[in-house]
Subunit: 411 residues, 2 copies
């Protein structure tokens, strides 16, 4: 008899965005004339950079002719893209990364979701709270989470690292030994970052405890401040303890194009039951080449174009557009006395709801009184209760209009 993966029964409903959609639909039905502005979903809205567009057109033409057609490529990605990544994102910052340490994929969501597979089912796992739900859900599916406690809104076997205004959104190190630690900086949803010194504490913890850090830096391109590390490998010794995930989704508007990469240094080791050492790089390479077949050639050509001088200028412009939105939201909300976080090195603004409203109550208020959809912080975890996320990915016009509407509210 075909039995299911029993761990799937521990998954909680993917409640957040469906609940948002439900409340929005109900409101629109009652108020068909309301013009709703969504600053809810973390998805870009500008067009692809022209350098990317040109490169993709050229690649499509290559694919049309037998002489230049490309069939199966290397599962790990084409050298032209890997070389551009290494030169543009690492060598330029003084970090040496080898060609065989970069794995091109169709998205960071896939990579951060799949990475746990190569580790033991008995691994103990720490996640920030609030957090991107994929880190948790994929460990639930693998049987590492324990059961869900509805009282605490948490799984019994996961280690949660709370971040809130109280600790400046800089979670404490785990109070127990954990094997795998998911860190996301610049952070989604809070938009907050760590300095090099602060990140070094995590690398030191991982070294002392033989832990592995799974470092998601999908929003790296939005970093503006000097002392914020662009890569965890800027921290000495991080290659021995960290895997880094990067994405072109937010850097270059690739959410609908699908390209990302993961760096797994050769220095990173893990152990089998007998204590024998393995290169984590070899395990990931085996996983990647067995269950994945490479990214579209057309997409990889588009991604490589981001590293041309034309491409670099265009993505700087894109990032600047969204970060101007972020400043507009941040300054607008501050001006009416709200406690606002993020939005400086990330396209997310994380605000403390006024008068201790819970996240969903604030959602309803914003929707009904200002016709704005955002994301309730509690949807990202219990420590997000009483917070609310707005994104800077809208058009300038909508962003300005949304801030005007919020300024007129009685909070």
């Amino acid at each position: 008899m075909a039995n299911i993966n029993q761990h799937y029964t521990e998954l909680q409903g993917s409640y957040l965005f469906s609940e948002i959609a439900k409340r929005r639909t109900a409101f629109t039905k009652e108020n068909p004339e309301a013009s709703i502005i969504s600053l809810g979903i973390g998805d870009v809205t500008r067009g692809l950079p022209q350098a990317v567009v040109n490169a993709m057109h050229a690649a499509v033409d290559e694919m049309a002719e037998p002489g230049s057609f490309r069939g199966y490529g290397p599962e790990q990605g084409y050298d032209f893209l890997i070389d551009a990544i290494i030169a543009g994102d690492y060598k330029s910052r003084g970090i040496e990364i080898g060609t065989n340490e970069v794995f091109v994929s169709d998205g960071s969501k896939c990579d951060v979701g799949n990475i746990q597979e190569i580790f033991s089912q008995n691994s103990s796992v720490a996640v920030q709270d609030p957090v991107y739900p994929v880190y948790v859900d994929t460990n639930v599916m693998a049987g590492r989470s324990g059961t869900f406690n509805k009282e605490t809104n948490r799984y019994t076997n996961m280690t949660y690292l709370p971040s809130s205004a109280e600790n400046g959104f800089k979670p404490s190190l785990p109070d127990r030994k954990v094997d795998l630690i998911y860190l996301c900086y610049p952070n989604n949803p809070t938009g907050m970052t760590l300095t090099k010194d602060e990140l070094k504490k995590w690398v030191d913890y991982a070294k002392a405890n033989d832990s592995i850090i799974l470092y998601d830096s999908a929003y790296e391109a939005y970093i503006q401040e000097e002392d914020v590390p662009h890569s965890i490998y800027e921290i000495e010794g991080a290659k021995e303890v960290a895997i880094e995930f990067r994405s072109f989704s937010k850097t270059a508007g690739f959410t609908g194009v699908r390209c990302a990469y993961t760096v797994v240094p050769r220095e990173l080791k893990a152990f089998d039951e007998a204590g024998k050492e393995y290169h984590v790089n070899d395990l990931w390479n085996r996983r990647h080449s067995t269950k994945f077949n490479g990214v579209s050639y057309v997409t990889q050509r588009g991604a490589a174009a981001i590293y041309s001088s034309e491409g670099k200028a265009q993505i700087a412009e894109l990032v600047s557009y969204y970060m101007t939105n972020a400043a507009i939201i941040r300054d607008g909300l501050k001006s009416i006395g709200l406690d606002v976080f993020g939005g400086v090195n990330a396209p997310y603004i994380w605000l403390k709801t006024p008068r201790g409203l819970d996240s969903w109550a604030f959602f309803d208020k914003l929707l009904s009184e200002a016709h704005i959809v955002g994301t309730p912080g509690v949807g990202f975890g219990q420590s997000g209760q009483g917070y609310f996320r707005l994104t800077a990915f809208g058009s300038r016009e909508n962003t300005e209009a949304a801030v005007e509407r919020i300024r007129k509210l009685t909070l």
Copy 2:
């Protein structure tokens, strides 16, 4: 301490294609003047159909402008593609498939590799032998295979279903109850198929034993004969027992573009430990939306163009080109007395090596005497020993030259 997934230690080296490359390199070094023809790897070589090229160009242009830009799409695929798939591949054959039963992905390799995740780790698994290695390796990674026995060239806990000339490449039903059965028709590597009546036996077995059939029909477009089913759902009741995998890789030259789909009927059920029934469709939907983020919009537009009348005509031409190659190889080898299989409803020719040569000895003979690279059958499993695979995906010119060279050999 970070421990690895211990099951990975049971994986065998991915020996086949690296060993082929090694022997080819060694030969070329000794014989730099030799002009080698490869009929080894199952990868297409013609350009993309013009309808696909046009659709991809148009989609790239849409992505360049904010007004028509597409960010994150539905993880399951856009309706314009799903509707085209249902109309073109199912409704046209009298099969009703619902929109929520089709999951668009970036490749069948990914889908057939990932599908096992939603089932219990204790599931018993049957595979054809010879077989596409991904079915086996992904179950090894999940801990279902037992240990590898070097004497038998097989894993202890897998059920192998041998196909060879002796049984007309139609494996017997398993002699024990199995939970999951991977079937691939038209078959890679043998190029052989089943009739509707023969496939019905598998559906009946699955019904009687509460098994689930994982039906890989990546080569469906190559079917020429009347009585060969294009979909397992042509068999009555198959929706209750089968998941079907389809790919655009070989249908439309998408090996470097990456698009495929999987059908998981709502009728298909599996059970938790307490015997409670679940829709397998819900589990796959959860897996797909948690660990995957949809296929490139540009790619999906290209795939949808295959179903236009222009696209249909162009892929018919592509398939005809390769199938003419298949006939040239098949007829050529037959004319010199070789036992040849496949090549009628599939782009693979599976030949019995002359004089009982083992697969690798025949590989060496073909390489050294005819300068042709093919694939040793034993690389696909023990029952492939004494067989050899040639593919019809080369250019016409190379295919004809290769056959001429083989005809001149002393076999």
